[in-house]
Point group: none
Chain length 179, copies 4
DNA sequence: GATGAATGAGAGTTCATTCAT
DNA sequence: GATGAATGAACTCTCATTCAT
């Protein structure tokens, strides 16, 4: 969908504040009326963008875990971190803008579900290998916070090496969960 | 300054979107004209708010380090993390709103300087104890990302125990830097 | 015509503001393109709706008068009032919405003609029995105003007894005309 | 207030549909921002217009009744009808547009109150002289419907003689209530 | 004929900022 | 200095209408 790609590019190049419905429509070479035929509101447009982003992440994570079940906590975390870092750095500015948008607007139901599935997937790995003192929900939340925080910062700083980033994220997460 | 406190309270209770110059002036019991005599623009007002927040953090960090120089990396990180967690959880919603605002507006020079001083202070501790493989700037950025990411998430989730949070942050940071 | 009935139902249940061409087409199970093949504009659609409504009223009035010519002013007014009250209360919300629409859009020629025939029919009864001081056109206009005003108000208030309403309308009209 | 008078004139000359906030502001020689400083919404603007109109009517009715209490039903109705006819014919198109607006938007509280006081005033006169079979509320509603219906129609037809109109309204109302 | 994606003028509303008093 | 009425560009969203298929 041209509108989605246009919106993504605006988010990417000029940030959340620059994303207006008119700008998205114009950039997509489409009238504002058409935009509203595809998306009932600006929120819906942004939510769909976020949902696709997260759906891509979820698919990548599932693919990784199904290809080869993690043999240890370190193995699992390392591989999940690599996927997440890759996803975030691919279109770093876009990913950050979407993170911000998610924090601002009440979660779309579909997006919510996708996010919960990602959370469950991570929680599963944690539960399997790391009988942490802290409840799994807290640990999962912390893991997400670390991944998101570090990848956002890396993206903002212009880093573009997912492998190096993933390695650092892995160390931090293992430290958090660690022995 | 009444205007700053008013703006802070709006940010805290109703978020970045609700902070309008008129709302801040009214809440401060001051005319909008006066607000613009103190601050040349809304950006400047928000930047000043962020600067004070960071100045407070900087002062607290300096006080901690000067009271007793860190004996080890673990000792240093643990104490810095506690300060940072405390600062962020004290007025969690405000801190998050400011983080978000900072991400959106081009950095104010004064604020930039304050942030750099905090960075330098942390970098000093790292340099002293952790001859990391990664350059110190990257390590510092990562440490900040972890602290900010985890405390924001904790704040959003309603956590209010700085000690527990600080302990988890410490584990993650030491993991990142660690052997 | 499915479109007309769909438009009528929207008018009835959700009022003039909710009647959009797209809504009418969708409700009729017809494409918006087809709607515009039947009716050149929204105005034309609404006018046709109003015309049918009035045509129904006209037919009922004619049937009543032809079945048994009025024996007196009171008899004539009473019977006409009953017909009018019945027509208006049958689909009260629809009738009111149409009244409102008529007031807003420049009169359609066909609708105008139908309305004039109703006027002539009433004027005939008046002329026959009531040599009023006022010119017949004024009297006719007043009679319509009373009937429409009272039935609209009754409909809005949720009345649904045409007989009682007709009795009151009759008293008012006879008072207007009477000695 | 310039905005109110501008809005009134638009209503008067071009009807409810032509009244847009931009049009009202422009005609008042005021920016759209200023309009919204006086009135928080278009609804509020229209409601205030209606409220003033009705407040004027209420004041006139009270003045009339207090100057000389009605001696009979006929006397009371005649005098109230004259006031109402005068008020409606003074700015007939405006009055009609406001009637229509009132029917479309949920009643403003203040306006509601004014209308209730007018209703109570009329109901008092009815109660005093006309122990009707019908409940007073129905009678009051009918009286209003007759007055409004006849005056609207008269205004639309270009009548401008309040005395003649009032005489006809009086006959109709007395017929309704009559012996 | 029928379809429905596309159009775009225009609606109501917000808010950072200015400037005469 | 302080005030706050005034500004207007910009925003989200609607809907009657068109026209290529």
């Amino acid at each position: 969908m041209a509108v989605l790609e246009a919106a993504a590019r605006i988010l990417e190049t000029r940030g959340l504040e620059a994303l207006t419905t008119n700008a998205a429509a114009e950039r997509a070479g489409v009238s504002i009326g058409s935009l509203y035929q595809y998306f009932p509101s600006k929120q819906a447009l942004v939510a769909e963008l976020a949902r696709r982003q997260q759906a891509g992440l979820l698919a990548a994570l599932e693919r990784e875990l199904q290809s080869r079940p993690p043999r240890s906590l370190a193995d699992g975390v390392r591989r999940l971190a690599r996927i997440a870092a890759q996803a975030q750095l691919e279109r770093a500015a876009l990913a950050r803008a979407l993170d911000q948008a998610e924090a601002n607007q009440p979660a779309d139901a579909e997006l919510e579900r996708t996010n919960r599935r990602i959370g469950a997937l991570v929680a599963d790995v944690l539960r399997q290998f790391a009988p942490t003192a802290a409840p799994v929900e807290v640990a999962t939340r912390d893991v997400f916070a670390i991944v998101r925080g570090m990848t956002d910062a890396a993206g903002r700083a212009g880093e573009d090496d997912p492998a190096g980033l993933a390695a650092r994220v892995t160390r931090a997460v293992l430290g958090l969960l660690g022995p």
